[in-house]
């Protein structure tokens, strides 16, 4: 019985850990020198979902994004200009990716600008979306957690182009 309880605690911790890596990185580096941090909670997303005129133009016509935004469980953004924090966060992201939960969606390297996009989830649902952009002087880390319909998120990003 004791072994079952210990195993359950370990599994639960691993689940929580893997589900909250964006939050872990955010909690660790937000408030640091040379770091601008933004967090939007699930409760705030529910409020955003109730705003009027939350529509975007897609190829198939206007799309109401309120349900999509309400499905976000957390938005974490870090804008980092501190060189020591930049090198630490690069290591953190490498560790996060090495755990195997994230797939590389896209990587762009162009004249010192690097962009990497990772997602985790399955074919239809994204559980975590991670965007990292660096230009040598600054790094931007964006993580969106939730149970997000992949097609809807792609449409939302495309609408911002």
């Amino acid at each position: 019985m004791k072994r079952l309880i210990i195993l359950a605690v370990i599994l639960l911790s691993a689940t929580i850990a893997s589900a909250q890596e964006g939050r872990n990185i955010y909690n660790k580096y937000s408030g640091g020198e040379g770091v601008t941090a933004v967090y939007i909670s699930p409760s705030m997303f529910k409020l955003i979902g109730k705003l009027p005129d939350l529509e975007i133009e897609t190829d198939g016509g206007p799309m109401d994004i309120a349900p999509l935004i309400s499905s976000f469980k957390g938005f974490y953004m870090l804008d980092i200009s501190n060189p020591s924090v930049i090198s630490e966060i690069n290591k953190e992201v490498t560790t996060m990716i090495s755990k195997g939960r994230y797939d590389l969606l896209m990587e762009v390297k162009d004249e010192g600008d690097n962009v990497q996009i990772y997602t985790s989830g399955d074919e239809k649902t994204i559980e975590s979306f991670v965007f990292i952009a660096s230009d040598g002087h600054e790094v931007q880390f964006i993580c969106i957690d939730g149970k997000i319909n992949r097609t809807d998120l792609e449409a939302l990003i495309a609408s911002a182009m």
Partner: protein
């Protein structure tokens, strides 16, 4: 009646002589009283170990949970939060556009190479 300190001073031989002396009456419930005392000490030990384990488990749980504690909302206004989300998604889109632009540029190079190859 001897005090515990006096009993501690007795030698092994003296203790053996006392135990063999049948004129000294052994209380009938002595075994039960000794057993009860041992159980009391054992239970106290288990309680201490249990309490220490619980404290250690709570401390470990907190140490594991704290990095994942929910941060405080940056905005208290959903309009500001949405504006920030839009800005972030614009940056993501720009990153993706850069990638697709590079793919399109490389496609034209590949097409030209294919034309040259086919012309031969």
């Amino acid at each position: 009646m001897k005090s515990p300190k006096d009993i501690e001073k007795l030698t092994l031989q003296e203790l053996e002589a006392i135990s063999l002396d049948e004129s000294i009456a052994v209380p009938p419930d002595l075994s039960e009283r000794i057993g009860a005392r041992i159980s009391k000490v054992k239970n106290k030990g288990y309680t201490i170990v249990g309490a220490a384990s619980a404290v250690a488990a709570i401390a470990a749980g907190l140490a594991l949970y704290m990095p994942y504690a929910e941060p405080k909302d940056t905005f208290d206004n959903p309009y500001q939060a949405y504006a920030e989300l839009e800005k972030a998604l614009t940056k993501v889109s720009e990153g993706i556009q850069k990638g697709t632009a590079m793919i399109e540029a490389s496609e034209s190079i590949i097409e030209k190479s294919t034309e040259i190859f086919n012309a031969k």
